[in-house]
């Protein structure tokens, strides 16, 4: 047992195996193709923003959308602006 632990430690130290962290396999795939966020996120571009809105109307969380923190901030702000102008729903059912 001790030997096995040491082995795992070694692998982690050398970063040979980045796929497994902890005991469980990861629930989400990390390297999922991202949606490309333009440099300027236009709050009037409803078609683009709809890509971040699942059917319930909520904003797609960053752990799913996998976009950068800065992009997520810009996208969510744009969505909120569009919502206030009734271009996007607050809740959809």
């Amino acid at each position: 047992m001790a030997e096995k632990d040491m082995e795992i430690m070694d692998v982690k130290d050398m970063r040979l195996d980045e796929e497994v962290i902890g005991d469980r396999p990861r629930r989400y795939q990390r390297k999922r193709p991202r949606q490309v966020v333009p440099d300027y996120v236009d709050w009037k571009d409803v078609d683009f923003l709809l890509g971040f809105i699942p059917e319930r109307g909520k904003i797609l969380p960053r752990r799913i959308s996998q976009i950068s923190a800065r992009d997520q901030r810009r996208v969510s702000k744009a969505i909120k602006r569009a919502r206030s102008m009734a271009m996007l729903p607050f809740v959809a059912d």
Binding site: P38, D39, Y40, V41, W43, K44, R74, R81, R83, S84, M85, A86, M87, L88, P89, F90, A92
Partner: protein
């Protein structure tokens, strides 16, 4: 005073007649110019379905203005829009700063791409390596 760019959008009650909408848009334009702003773009988007009802109405007439100015005209414009019964909703967004950061980001990315391209082996070298493989 540095110039600022704003986007002003408002939704007009769908039951207003067309000539009144035109008059309102003209009045908005005149007000902006009187207060010292310039209109960069004026877009009468027209009737659109609302994502949720506003004042029990399902549609609205959207109008978009892009204004350049000091910000004083915005204060006056918002005051007028608030009391206007025809305008159901309005929003003002300052866009110049975000656009500036966007161009900066783009320039940075292009510079990085150019740098990376300079390190890439030229097509001549690639051909020779293929020849070696063959």
């Amino acid at each position: 005073m540095a110039n600022r760019t704003y986007e002003v959008m408002y939704i007009i009650d769908p039951e207003t007649p067309g000539d009144k909408i035109e008059k309102l848009n003209d009045a908005v334009g005149k007000l902006i110019e009187k207060e010292g702003g310039t209109i960069v773009r004026m877009d009468d988007i027209g009737m659109k379905n609302l994502a949720y009802p506003i004042q029990k109405k399902e549609t609205g007439h959207y109008v978009l203005f892009e204004i350049e100015g000091s910000g004083q005209e915005i204060a006056e414009l918002e005051r007028r829009m608030r009391v206007n019964d025809m305008i159901m909703r309005y929003i003002t967004v300052r866009v110049d700063e975000d656009r500036k950061t966007a161009t900066k980001l783009r320039d940075k990315r292009e510079a990085r791409a150019a740098k990376r391209a300079s390190f890439r082996p030229s097509t001549e070298n690639q051909q020779t390596s293929e020849a070696v493989d063959a």
